[in-house]
Symmetry: C2
Subunit: 145 residues, 2 copies
DNA sequence: GTACGTGCAAAGGTTTTGCATGGCG
DNA sequence: CGCCATGCAAAACCTTTGCACGTAC
């Protein structure tokens, strides 16, 4: 049972909102904070088990939902039959091919000014954004159907 | 069995790509073209049955996948436990509350210039885009947790 | 007439739920 | 010590697959 290391910033967001800092939650948070990949519930379960061996599937789902509510994670759908979770912080920018499913991540982003305007107009407090562009990659343009 | 009415533009995209115009596909297309909502596979099945009573669940899934491949639909994930399909044409712009799940649609969009740049840089042919901003609505800002 | 597409039903996965037990605060 | 959170197992759901039949072209 590897002791999970999670930033104080994240743990405080949990306790500030009235949630207990259990070992199951810390294990999930450690995975979320370490990983740079697009996470599925199953993958989180596997990895978090190295911190908390007895961890159950249901708890992972409950924790992922909780972290989404707190604005730490966000769910996305990339075209195959399941959910992925990504860190909500900052933003994500995807270019997705409708043919082969390839996902390219890029950095460009002109969302800053839109965030400002949307916050004023709708009264939302905006934590994160996701920009997805869909089309066909160079390979799939040549093989229609 | 209501005869489905589908625009020639859509039917031609199917046949141009080498797909047959079956009554099942026309029924699904009619629903997609008529509806303004965020569509789930189950809802599409129910509605499309009014055009093609014997329609099966599997065919709806296969057709939705096909329409996604052709760039007519796009899947999104809005935070509850399932997929939604929306029309890919143009773009979609959502403001989603992490607390209560409310989804606001807005018109502003500065994606045009980004599309241009991404096409040049990655060689993609871009059909559509999705901009999602996540945060908390005015109500949920006051009730943390 | 032929290959593609369909419907059915079963299989395969994923997500949710109920409940007794455990542990944070 | 009380209540929240967990783990387990089962249930509920959603999605995919295999196969024989139907139908667009």
């Amino acid at each position: 049972m590897n002791k999970p290391s999670v930033s104080a910033q994240l743990t405080e967001r949990l306790s500030a909102a009235g949630y207990r800092l259990t070992s199951a939650r810390l294990a999930v948070l450690a995975v979320v904070e370490t990983s740079h990949a697009h996470l599925t519930p199953g993958l989180v379960l596997d990895e978090a088990k190295s911190h908390a061996p007895g961890l159950g599937r249901a708890t992972v789902y409950r924790t992922l939902e909780l972290l989404t509510e707190l604005g730490i994670l966000r769910p996305i759908y990339l075209g195959d039959g399941g959910v992925y979770f990504i860190r909500a912080e900052g933003g994500h920018h995807h270019l997705v091919c409708n043919g082969c499913g390839q996902v390219v991540e890029f950095d460009e982003c002109m969302a800053g000014e839109m965030v400002q305007e949307l916050q004023e107009r709708f009264g939302y407090q905006i934590d994160s954004h996701l920009l997805e562009f869909h089309g066909r990659c160079t390979v799939c343009q040549e093989s229609p159907g």
